[in-house]
Symmetry: C2
Subunit: 110 residues, 2 copies
DNA sequence: ACTTATACCTTGTTCAGCTATGTGTAGTCC
DNA sequence: GGACTACACATAGCTGAACAAGGTATAAGT
């Protein structure tokens, strides 16, 4: 059901990236993240769906109802142009930040 | 005054690491993080001091008043044994997590 | 006198993520 | 028939870290 805790602020990037290739529905986003991260990122559905709604409200994702491969009804999310820009800038920010944290954690100087 | 936003959850690790080498006072912790991270990590004091108090309350840091090199009064924080363990496990968690995020962001598969 | 750097602190607010829970469909296994 | 798993969506209440914006005070430089 639930995965290990998230570092707040990273979820949006992960979601935006997941739908960057093509539209996906919520459940598939969760599955894809689990797959790509070797089970490290296991997003609770009670966290994932509100996040999708937030991103929609902010105009970073668009949503429409559709059919899965197996004929089920599902809500498909796609990146808007704003979302694509947001992904890009957040990715840059993450990369810079994680490098900074890494260099702090590696440091042995007092 | 303020730095760029933090990814929530990383601040504790950064602080614990800063005092891992030896006791430091709050202001020096901020300065050290800025230095080690090439100005990427610039922790607002209104964020830093409450965090130090929290870590103290949780028993991960000990605190005592002392004198700086320049003769000023300052509160020095040091790692407790619990704090050292927490640093270790959080470091592991961060490393695993950031690798996972990285591998998601690098992915090009749909 | 003024500014900068040092060094500490608190109060109020926001909102992401956590926890728990609910709905319903469809396939499989015994 | 009954139980179970996977799929797919959703909301409501809570917590607490971080943010924003202030405040106190000393010392050194110009």
């Amino acid at each position: 059901m639930s995965g290990s805790d998230i570092f707040t602020g990273t979820l949006d990037i992960l979601i935006l990236k997941a739908v960057a290739v093509g539209p996906l529905h919520g459940y598939a986003i969760g599955r894809w993240l689990r797959l790509q991260s070797d089970d490290v990122l296991d997003i609770d559905e009670g966290v994932l769906y509100p996040a999708l709604h937030r991103l929609g409200r902010r105009g970073l994702l668009s949503a429409k109802w559709g059919q899965t491969d197996t004929g089920r009804r599902a809500r498909f999310y796609a990146l808007t142009p704003d979302g694509r820009e947001q992904l890009k800038s957040e990715k840059t920010r993450w990369t810079e930040y994680s490098k900074a944290v890494h260099s702090v954690l590696q440091s042995s100087e007092g």
